[in-house]
Symmetry: C2
Subunit: 572 residues, 2 copies
């Protein structure tokens, strides 16, 4: 491709409303343009990258044995009513009516459609297992779309759904998808990690997220420094401290703390070490709990893990904090002064809290705390549980090493769904015994659009994008200098362009009448990994100049050897 | 691929609601399944075909120099209001609101979006010409979706849009697209014709449709038997008869015709040759016409061409027939008794009618006709024009030969739009003189989904589909007989499968435990063009059996030479 015949509207300035790097650079490099909030058009350079990601995903999914399909974007309400999600799914599910006033949704995902296909066309276990996927436009009506294509309303997703008569077959396919995802992200050239994830309300046994590591990532990923253990923050287990609880060594005293509404204020004003404090949070109880509210306690410097908390049988899901008035009615005090002494509602403490002694906590009386509280002697709890986020330095739940935390961008998710949809939608087949059996189901997603943005978040510098070879819009930038004035520059450039294109490379030749500075800046902004500069000066010695986008010194190579040289350097 | 691991739910029976062949066969061959009215899921075998069509379209569009993009399916109402189509477009435009009650449409086409991109990012003629395309899901809320994917609500379309500073550049790109489309349909292996089409209300100079010829086609395509001339029925010009009008030879007589409400009844009851009759149709006049109604006359055996009629400056567009009461008020008689004698409103006659003498027509008095009517002596007309459909045997407007008519399925359309959108949406750039100039625009569509259905309409027999090699889901069917019982059949089949797959062919090996009859029927229904049967019987002589789906006798080839033989026979 020649820049003179290409549409590459690069921008010098960073658009004001673009906050994250990938959004800024995709706009500046002429990859995308905003049509409306959360809706983006992909311009030619962006579309090239998207196609390359899509092709890698397709090739590896095909290799895995999954079968490609395409299901409609528009889906009738009836199947969503059957699955229960017509009601359960929030306003992110875009509902609309057709000209005959029939209800439809724009599909954010396709469990219902694929389950409908399978229940109609699969009647026997002999036709299973089966894994079908599509690479297709999805719509989620985000309340606040942001970060460009990272959290847009329309996006391209690869979603796969597998069906099985036996749980073991689902586990095998789940592993097959895990391995397939690893091959995909390896080929994409990204630094990524599969991490254990929470199964949500579905239960079941397996759920993993695939994260591209980047400092700008939205999610905290937890790793062991001595093993392969990796989990997302929601899932990572905080172990109980190994040591026994110390014996009490202080008397419990009631302390006036009128200006300490928070743990930080308590610590600052009263000289209490934060590790000697506990926080009490009051949440709504589940229906099966005999009380209306439940108290949750974590150490003052720890954070409640809401996902872990909402999995407790005593706690309502989704987690809902109690309102100030409710708390006051039951506890006799407001949020800043709560604690375990004299507690009348179920009280679930974090494993760490259960091992604490001589600690400070609210006195359930406004403006007062108890110091020197000790379990059993002064207060009791209902039971202990893991309800906090891990922190760096915690022992790894795998038993090896300590935990550390990095930021990640979720680009894939594999999930053992179990029978949720097959039971709701009555998707059964005859099993080996000739009886109707609901199917086991797995689902496996990759955010194709998001992969592009995450690749940029992970690979950029202050001059622009630095693409991995496999998904670069062009692998090679040919930059002739003053081509219009120099016949030898023109001829050499055209010859190299023809040879490299014939060799199967995607080459962008910058044949504009523009200064070297303008050309270099654009090629760097767009992120083309390999650059060849052809100038009178170097050609006078029979050479051209090569430079990788990641930096390092420019190297000179004889014109005659540069194609062979590039075949060594560039992976396609 | 092996049938045992594939999802190919073939059906023996034709589903009741499938009327056209392609719909029936796509359902029976397990290519598609209906999700809701006009919404279809593509199962693996169908998706393979769709992907192959898409890839050919993409390769040839890329080769043409057009640049691939992707624009959102969802489009904000504002740009449709700017172009005027928010109001103009009927209920086929699906309008919806997002969670913030903002208006959107599901894109049936993307002129507004691309024009918005271009006006924002193209500022100078130096960046032109430019042609951008996408292959993307479209939505049209058809009142009565039917014929399977032939007229569905969601479908895949390749739409391209070109922008130019000069009309000549648009004409060049239009020709480039014409040539590109010919390459595409050649590669698809379809019998097709580019035909001249009407430009509609846009005016401008160029519009061509690409039709796949099939007896079941919805459209009439008009050809010359002695030249390359081809046009759709709307566009094909009906020339004036070469001969002069004969002199009157009969007296005009008033005839009671109480039971002749139609031309057919008039001819039957009164023995008048149909070529001696005229039909009078009363339509609404345009605003610029001084009258409210206009009379249009065609010979009794001819049909009014509504498109030609609505292009008349005197006639309202879109064409609207006058109501019976309006007609009676102005003409003094109802529809079955209208004619030119005593006509008080503008009267436009077809060129053929203008050359008629001694003809019969309604007397503008209920239950009466005049016979022996002659122009000038008995009645006058305002002017003559081409307002009828051509019929077989008419002279070709190209000047060579006579016309004949075939049926076609429209699968592509190329169109010189001119400045319609650029002027409505203020898409201007600086021209060579440094002045703002509205852009010339062309648009070029291919119904990718429809191509698949049209290929079946053109290529099938009573046993199923017969795919062209280039778009067959599998080019080669390997049918081992009693594989489970014969080691040599199994080994030979596996070896051939491996070799043919390695050679780049898409091979479906039917490894089911099923009778030869069941296997042959399925492979024929699915339409795989090349079939190899591996059986103990033929292997005992060292042979396998080859047969093409189109028929002819089965041929035997030595096992060792069959791969080389297929390389001759199969095009990929």
């Amino acid at each position: 491709m020649r820049t003179s015949q290409y549409f590459l509207p690069t921008l010098k300035e960073t658009p004001a409303d673009a906050v994250v790097i990938s959004h800024q650079l995709m706009l500046r490099a002429g990859m995308i343009r905003k049509l409306a909030s959360g809706l983006y058009s992909w311009l030619p350079a962006g579309k090239r990258v998207l196609n390359k990601v899509e092709n890698i995903v397709r090739e590896e999914m095909d290799r895995s044995g999954a079968l490609e399909t395409t299901m409609p974007v528009s889906q009738p309400a009836e199947i969503w009513q059957e699955s229960g999600r017509w009601v359960e799914y929030g306003p992110e599910l875009l509902r609309f009516q057709d000209r005959h006033n029939r209800d439809f949704v724009m599909g954010p995902t396709h469990e219902e459609v694929i389950t409908d296909i399978v229940r109609n066309d699969i009647s026997s276990y002999k036709q299973l297992p089966l894994n079908m996927y599509q690479i297709q436009t999805k719509f989620r009506d985000e309340r606040r779309p942001r970060f460009g294509v990272m959290r847009s309303r329309e996006f391209l997703m690869k979603d796969a759904y597998s069906f099985h008569i036996e749980a073991e077959s689902l586990v095998n396919e789940y592993q097959n998808m895990h391995d397939t995802y690893c091959r995909i992200f390896d080929r994409l050239g990204l630094d990524y990690r599969p991490v254990e994830a929470d199964n949500g309300s579905i239960g079941g046994t397996g759920s993993q997220e695939f994260h591209v590591l980047a400092d700008s990532g939205e999610d905290d990923i937890v790793f062991s420094d001595s093993s392969d253990y990796a989990a997302n923050m929601e899932k990572a287990e905080a172990l109980a401290p190994a040591d026994n609880r110390p014996a009490p060594s202080e008397e419990m005293t009631r302390v006036p703390t009128p200006n300490a509404k928070t743990i930080a204020e308590l610590v600052e004003q009263h000289g209490l070490p934060i590790e000697k404090t506990v926080k009490t949070l009051i949440v709504k109880a589940s229906e099966e709990c005999e009380a209306d509210l439940v108290a949750l306690m974590v150490r003052g410097d720890h954070e409640l893990n809401e996902i872990k908390a909402e999995h407790l049988p005593e706690v309502a899901a989704p987690l809902e904090m109690a309102a100030e008035e409710e708390i006051r009615a039951v506890m006799g005090a407001g949020c800043g002064s709560l604690g375990p002494v004299g507690m009348t509602i179920p009280c679930i403490v974090d494993r760490t809290v259960a091992k604490m002694a001589d600690f400070g906590a609210g006195a359930n009386s406004d403006g007062e705390h108890f110091f020197g509280v000790n379990w059993e002697r002064d207060a009791t709890y209902t039971r202990e549980a893991d309800i906090r986020n891990v922190v760096e330095g915690d022992p790894s739940p795998c038993g090896n090493g300590k935990l550390f935390i990095k930021r990640g961008i979720e680009v894939g998710h594999i999930f053992q769904l179990g029978k949720k949809y097959s039971e709701a939608m009555n998707a059964t087949v005859l099993n080996q015994s000739g009886k109707d059996a609901a199917l086991f189901m797995g689902c496996y997603g990759i955010g194709v659009t998001r992969v592009v943005a995450s690749a940029i978040e992970q690979n950029h510098d202050d001059r622009g994008i630095i693409w991995p070879d496999a998904i670069a819009p062009f692998q090679i930038a040919l930059v002739p200098l003053k081509m219009e004035k120099s016949e030898v520059v023109r001829k050499t450039s055209e010859k190299l362009y023809a040879e490299l294109t014939a060799a199967g490379y995607d080459v962008l030749m910058d044949d504009r009448k523009a200064s070297p500075g303008v050309k270099f800046a654009d090629m760097e902004l767009v992120g083309i990994p390999h650059r060849i500069v052809i100038s009178d000066r170097s050609l006078s010695e029979g050479n051209v100049e090569y430079k990788h986008r990641r930096g390092g010194d420019a190297e000179t190579f004889p014109v005659d050897s540069i194609v062979a040289e590039l075949k060594q350097k560039v992976t396609i």
